[in-house]
Symmetry: C2
Subunit: 577 residues, 2 copies
Amino acid sequence: MQYVAPEKDAQFLMFDLFRAQEIWSGIPAFGDFSQDLVEAVIAEGAKINGQVVAPTNAIGDLQGCTWNSGQVTTPEAFKGAFTQIAQGGWLGLAGNPEFGGQGMPKMLASLIEEMFWAANTSLYLYGTLTIGACVCIEAHGTPQQKALYLPKLYSGQWTGAMALTESHAGTDLGIMRSKATPHADGSYRISGTKIFITSGEHDLAENIVHLTLAKLPDAPAGTKGISLFIVPKFLPNEDASLGSRNAWASGSLEHKMGIRGSATSVINYDGATAYLLGEENQGLAAMFSMMNYERLSVGLQGLGAGEVAYQLSSRYAKDRLQGRSAQGAENPNAAADSLLVHPDVRRMLLTQRAYNEAGRAFALFVGLQLDLAKYTDDEQAQALSELLTPVAKAFLTDKGFEGAVMAQQVFGGHGYVHEWGIEQIVRDARIGQIYEGTNGVQALDLISRKTLRDGGQTLYAFIDRMAADPIAAPFDEALTAAFERLRRVTGYLVDHSPDDVHLAGSVSTEFLELVGHTIYGWLWARMATIAPADDFGQSKRVTAEFFFARLLPKTLGFEASICQSTNTVMALPADRF
Amino acid sequence: MQYVAPEKDAQFLMFDLFRAQEIWSGIPAFGDFSQDLVEAVIAEGAKINGQVVAPTNAIGDLQGCTWNSGQVTTPEAFKGAFTQIAQGGWLGLAGNPEFGGQGMPKMLASLIEEMFWAANTSLYLYGTLTIGACVCIEAHGTPQQKALYLPKLYSGQWTGAMALTESHAGTDLGIMRSKATPHADGSYRISGTKIFITSGEHDLAENIVHLTLAKLPDAPAGTKGISLFIVPKFLPNEDASLGSRNAWASGSLEHKMGIRGSATSVINYDGATAYLLGEENQGLAAMFSMMNYERLSVGLQGLGAGEVAYQLSSRYAKDRLQGRSAQGAENPNAAADSLLVHPDVRRMLLTQRAYNEAGRAFALFVGLQLDLAKYTDDEQAQALSELLTPVAKAFLTDKGFEGAVMAQQVFGGHGYVHEWGIEQIVRDARIGQIYEGTNGVQALDLISRKTLRDGGQTLYAFIDRMAADPIAAPFDEALTAAFERLRRVTGYLVDHSPDDVHLAGSVSTEFLELVGHTIYGWLWARMATIAPADDFGQSKRVTAEFFFARLLPKTLGFEASICQSTNTVMALPADRF
């Protein structure tokens, strides 16, 4: 699979749209990052993904993972590429420099993450779970735990995994059954079975560090009785050398629709030695403290899928000769014109592009808020990152999947067979909408916890902030109308939710779509306003016009659907379904 | 996989909504079909699909098809089921009684087809290609050809295949390269390579009859130089016994995203003996004469996928305990409530259901028009069937795929693994949007040939006809507004298309969505108006309310997107993609 990282767009967004250098210059931790250095990181990320990672994508899907008596073998093509990712320091990019990380901003890491997801989603899952484990250990680990685990994880010698789900307990973690019992030496013993454990067992690293949720014997019921544990495959000695094999094993691999190069295990814990991470019974809170960070990363998976799908389909549309332009042959010496003469094909490509480029801008904006929240005392950034995280996770993965499906459509029948690569992107992209909290859960989080709980104040403040930006004609009027629509709908929900306990849940998905489209309208208007007067800038303005003319109007339907006069969603008795 | 055919809904639509008995009583060919007989056919269709066909679906996907030196082996589970389908006479259901068909209305056959598609799309493809070949041979064959081929095909002893696509020529058949040369005995010899040939080679029947498009040596360029041929695997003697093996072979099987039990071959013709079907150079017209019929069938594939996806996801939602109702525990004795307490889950189920049930009504309506066009001199029915065929093909397959994706979302992580069956439905449903003319091609057909070419007259007449039906409150006002919107948008397109040659192609997909949603609004309003005063009727009314409140409002966005002030779709030079 051929993939070219969007370097120019990345630089435009980072330096022209968001003026990252100006912001970073006020943050001591980022003071050392010159524009040259950042551009070099982007260029190196583009290089390893285009040259090393992307070529392993299609073959990894075909080879898949195999299980044999608890041993899991990853696609042969993955081993060399993962070693290069690890040795290149890519997993520690935003990690704590005290323990071997490179301390780079999440805003920059987001650009790099998009590239890895685009180049090979399955392969990068071994990396992103590792990064997630690091975020969690850094936030909640003891000094000894940090010193022992972080350097090994940042360097990719060890990898991470999150063990949350049980077969009967997915979104509802409070009903999990895995048990942890205290042991005399201060450690614990875990027994139980977890499913859907991404990178839970594999052969790419010398050790695998599970972060596992389980209940202590005397734990309160529900989510308040869950504790978080470090459960390594090999118990490390103090010097990080490997000791004995721990008592857990992969019971089987899941047979998945996509991400087939990613090993997803059932993990059986049979009195496995475990070390408490954070406080007893505070496991869910500890796990969720890394969720904002991780959820943006899964959003970036959607963006990466959307980007590589766009690249594959636009390349195909240019090369494929089929039919003639409605205004006469454009390529009269050939048997047919390219697919690009067909307006509906262009509609599909421009739709993908409009969501991808706004999505990239949005991801960087959220990454910036996470940086400001982590490295400064900007309280608005903290509130904003919490408001926008569910949007980033759900909207980016929804649009990534829809874009991949649209790209597949551009290929016609060739889109349905493996050799062109796009059907794999569709299968791989689908999981982003499901894991790390389904997109329905994200929508409920946005509308209930992040919007209605404070009477819409955080959202209103964000709208005011967006509306304060200078916007060029012809986008200013339409954008103002979009802001008014979002204010109106938010007001409707704030006013009517107290009378209808099911209203928020009934319209949560449309509300998230409305919020996402409004933010993308703002970003497109901003990009068009500041875009340079060259070809790159003209493409931005045309795509912005397309977004305002063809995609933003969906918000009319969302408003009407949300502000319905009667809510019939709960009207049927359960046995009628 | 468990599947229960929607018998009650089928009867409601056929006898209450469309009053088929009254219509059929005026058609001599259908005079013999009593309501009892029709209900018995529906019941038998439900039985074979629930008991025999559906259980082969998941295993067929796992087993797939294998190729060995030109021999194609289908999933082991398919053989017994296909024999039962063939021997049950299901392939000749709507076939010509003169040659062994049962002469039933397409309206009834549509119901049965939906069941087969739902129960096992891959398996039914061996049947539907056979039915398609019969339609074509019946319309264009000589009396000898009909007498020789139709009885064997109706009985499923032989099966059919359509060989159109070449690797460089999909939608644009005019540039195909396969050659047919006349032979002294009146037959022809075909050489060339076709790809994506569904059921082109397999082991379920004793003979396989290809209908193959090729060009004669002196043929005009483009689509006017294409002829259609019968190219059987074994050359039949006059008594339909099998003679020598013909000179074509499967070169390989396609590695597809889904419908893995369906054998899709590359077919190499190496001077294969072929018999002209219809007139020389009239092949494309002959092939397209069956397209209305076939395109409705592919639409029914989408409907079947949507229906079985709904069944799987609603069953899962009832059984799966996860989380608590927002108004307090509904199932306090269990660890959690069912998924049905969550409004967003119900939104997904009701959305699927609203599209499925309106889609079933729509398919029957289109089937009725095809029957009236074929068996009576109702010219409006002919025009209407031509107008609505692209909508049926595209809208039903789009909504079927979207419904399957939504159903998959209801399953959470379990939706992504094979064992629950739903990820297969998603993969299988995807092809319906691509083959038999991509949905983009359908949208262009609807807007250009079926709408703009006659200045919108056929569409306006259909709107008038729909608007003449009695509609109960509260649906009447909203439906009137929907009709006005569609008239307004059609008028806009009629007025503006002459000034912008790319306008129609730029907005064709939204226009098809607008037409589809408006028709579904009519059908939901009609169903709600006539639904009985029992639980079944109340479910209809609630679902109609849901459709009007939550799905019909999408048309606001379609109107705004179509009636944009400037069309920027063609603005970028090709090298900017």
